[in-house]
Amino acid sequence: MECSSLHRQLAIIKKNLFDQGFLDEQFYQLEELQDDASPNFVEEVVTLFFRDSSRLLTNIEQALREKHPQDFHRLDVLMYQLKDSASSIGAAKVKNECTVFRELCDKENLEGCLRSFQKVKKEHAILRQKLENYFQLQRQVGPVEKATRSGN
């Protein structure tokens, strides 16, 4: 049945996201917040996250490209915000990369920061894609299909 295969697909995708470390426990918290009052809560939050974080990434990128001396403090602050955001939705890999970046920032390792930033960007993009797929599939499956742990 199409429905059940979609369900299964959805479940698998979700499981992978967790197994592969893209998402962590916090994502479950989001799902638990989804209810009748806000049936698309998770998707809304994730969308909001990607919107804001993209802007942040642009700012960071700009800051990194700025002439020296680098304002590491500012970079740190910006990346902190990104990390904050990412952790709140359970974007584990993005969060980890942010942490790495900040550590390098502390050491004022510009080179390292640049490399790290690329990783952050990459994880960010990957997650975005995966979650977009996930939500799309979820919509296909039907609104009743609430992402739950049972998906695992």
């Binding site: 918290q29 939050v45 804001d52 915000q81 955001s85 952790s87 709140s88």
Partner: protein
């Protein structure tokens, strides 16, 4: 705790507020008003949703400056602030300081930064808690405990200001066999009080809270006036050269101790230091200089001083209190101290309150000064007396006792061995109140007594109304003023004291036997239970008895309070005091005294909430009287306990609209009624489901 009135689990209210279909009333902390500040939109959305899931009332804000202005505009509205640490427009710690200084609300910091030093910074700046992001629902479910804890600490401080020995209290608590009365670390009584459905956390909090009660410092409320005097003195002496002793001399405020000044000076210096840093400069200075009234509270609220007008500082004649308008719900009768809860509002808007409190304090002092001939060797509550005279006035809870001054405290303490010190701030207050009530009751319609009761009741429970705390203070102040007037006009304070003592003599046993613990018990539930009164209106039921009439008349005098209270009550979402009563039930063994006192305390507690109105007092008095009478006549503690419980229950159920006579009848009914009945009713009405 008065502020928690709005958290009362009123089914209809809950339904309307939360959109329930009017089924089960929401659990206890539902409706807690949280201000959420976070610059990150994603976090804000998630946290807001989480908080709403906890049934809290959430206001979101993405900028610290906006948050502050909201807090200032809606003074007294919020119970708790949840703020991110790193925000673009203002450092979270700065916001924390501001809130601590101005509003003294519990603030919980959040951050994904879990470095110990940052967390430490949060705590040292006065945050009640520090939550590491990402935030989980579980963490948010318990934030209400911080609100409760903070309030309790404030109360404790008020109490402690009477220099109640912590050890005494604990001793009292330990001595009492009654689980119900043993508030300190006695979760059992609470359990019993609450019955099933009690939230473990809640209990834990309370227990934990009890363990925390240690501040014995008298709580001085640094009113705007007082602070101004302080500033003048400091400036004259030179900030760097100013020493507490000299400042104290220059301030020339009666009752203010060098320690008070010293700690205030320290805080002031810290403030200046913080202010002098570049970032804070503009913000702080502007804020600080422009609002002297701002509660100059240390961020750590526990040791902060209330801005309540330090009653000691005023010498106004009682009559001057008259203008204070009666509408204010005096959640804290003490007017003096009331502000523990709502300092900001108080400070900013109610100079009169300050005045009132001052007046009251002076009245009290008068009372205190009068020799209490009948005072039995109650050295125990001397602290109370001291409180009366001391700064504590400001404390809502402590205030009550204080107001009575030494005399009152003395009899509150009950000459007998019972360690009257109340271990719990809440408990203490109630204990004191109850005692005073009982005393009054025994006296039969002493107007002064009544007023005293009033005072005490007033202190209890400030309903957590949406209205600014300042209003409450005003009310309290007005109550106090009335009290003061009453106290000073009709009869000299010592008459009251004497009367009480006389009665006390006979009933002293009862009272004295009431272990502080016992009294504390009700307060353990303080946050919730104390404020029940507000909601339920003044319990005007009279227990019957001859004194009732006299009290009624007295009550009538204060009738306005009732109305006000009612008003407040309807608005406030008082936490049900119900729990308070519970101790009685379980504390059968405590003996009548305890129950009596307990009842009183619960009554007081409740009554304290906005309702301090005369009716409440009357009721309490009646109850006490009944109890006393019952005690005398009956050997059954249980009976008394029941009575107490019933009475207590009755209190809550009675609406302020009930005439005194009705109250009287009802009270009689309750007193004579079935325990279950009373209880059942009370339960229905007051149980706070946790």
């Amino acid at each position: 705790m008065l502020e928690f009135a709005h958290l009362k689990t009123d089914p209809s209210r809950a339904a309307s507020t939360l959109g329930n279909s009017g089924g089960q009333p929401p659990e206890f902390p539902a409706g807690l008003r949280v201000l959420l500040v976070d610059d990150d939109a994603t976090c804000l959305k998630i946290l807001a949703k989480m908080l709403r899931k906890c049934l809290y009332d959430v206001t979101t804000c993405s900028q610290a400056a906006v948050a502050l202005s909201i807090l200032r505009q809606k003074k007294g509205w919020f119970d708790l602030v949840l703020s991110d640490v790193y925000m673009p427009d203002m450092d979270g710690f700065k916001l924390l300081e501001h809130i601590g200084l101005e509003m003294d609300l519990p603030v919980i910091m959040m951050s994904s930064d879990d470095h110990k030093d940052v967390v430490m910074k949060g705590i040292t700046h006065g945050a009640c808690d520090y939550i590491i992001k990402p935030v989980r629902m579980e963490s948010l479910r318990n934030i209400w405990q911080h609100v409760v804890r903070k309030k309790r600490n404030e109360l404790k401080e008020l109490e402690n200001s009477g220099s109640l020995e912590e050890s005494d209290r604990r001793k009292a608590a330990d001595e009492g066999d009654n689980a119900s009365s043993a508030s300190v670390g006695n979760g059992k009584s609470e359990k019993r009080q609450r019955g099933e459905g009690k939230d473990e956390d809640e209990e834990d909090v309370l227990d934990e809270h009890e363990d925390h009660s240690h501040t014995k410092k008298p709580r001085v409320v640094w009113s705007a006036d007082l602070h101004q005097k302080f500033l003048t003195a400091v400036n004259q002496l030179g900030v760097d050269k100013a020493v507490p002793k000299k400042i104290l001399e220059m301030m020339n405020v009666h009752g203010l101790t060098r320690e008070n000044v010293a700690s205030h000076l320290q805080k002031y210096r810290l403030y200046l230091r913080r202010v002098s840093t570049p970032q804070n400069q503009g913000f702080f200075d502007a804020h600080y200089t422009s609002s002297h009234e701002a509660t100059y509270n240390s961020v750590g609220s526990n040791d902060g001083f209330n801005l309540h007008g330090l009653s000691v500082s005023s010498q106004h004649p009682p009559q001057s209190l008259a203008p204070i308008h009666s509408e204010q719900r005096i959640a804290t009768s003490t007017g003096m101290g009331i502000l523990a809860v709502d300092q900001l509002g108080f400070i900013n808007s109610r100079i009169q309150v300050t005045g009132a409190s001052n007046i009251i304090s002076s009245s009290l002092q008068q009372m205190n000064n009068k020799p209490m001939s009948n005072l039995r060797g109650c050295s125990k509550n001397i602290e109370l007396g001291q409180l009366g005279q001391s700064h504590q006035v400001a404390q809502p809870y402590g205030g009550i006792n204080l107001q009575f001054g030494e005399g009152t405290s003395n009899f509150l303490t009950l000459p007998s061995s019972a360690p009257t010190s109340f271990s719990l701030p809440g408990g203490t207050i109630s204990g004191q109140l109850s005692k005073s009530l009982s005393m009054h009751m025994t006296e039969h319609s002493h107007e002064e007594q009544f007023s005293m009761f009033q005072q005490s009741t007033l202190d209890i429970t400030l309903p957590g109304q949406p209205q600014p705390r300042g209003q409450l203070l005003d009310e309290v102040a007005s109550h106090n003023s009335r009290l003061a007037s009453t106290l000073t006009e009709p009869a000299p304070p010592d008459d009251i004291a004497n009367c009480i003592w006389g009665r006390l003599g006979t009933d002293a046993n009862m009272l004295t036997s009431l272990p502080a613990k016992y009294m504390d018990a009700p307060y353990n539930r303080f946050p919730r239970s104390l404020y029940v009164g507000g909601q339920d209106g003044v319990v005007n039921r009279s227990a019957g008895g001859s004194c009732f009439d006299s009290f009624i008349s007295t009550c009538n005098l204060k009738g306005t309070n009732n109305h006000v209270s009612d008003e407040h009550q309807s608005r406030s979402r008082n936490w049900k005091l119900q729990k308070v009563n519970l101790p009685y039930q379980s504390g059968q063994e405590v003996g009548l005294e305890q129950s009596t006192i307990d009842g009183h305390s619960s009554l007081m507690g409740h009554q304290g909430a906005t309702n301090i109105s005369a009716g409440t007092v009357t009721e309490e008095i009646l109850l006490m009287k009944n109890k006393i009478d019952n005690e005398r006549g009956s050997s059954s503690q249980h009976q008394r306990t029941n009575l107490v419980e019933n009475s207590i229950r009755v209190n809550y159920e009675v609406s302020s609209d009930i005439s005194y006579q009705n109250l009287h009848d009802e009270l009689m009914k309750v007193v004579q009624g079935q325990k279950q009945d009373g209880f059942g009713r009370a339960d229905a009405d007051f149980n706070i489901q946790v």
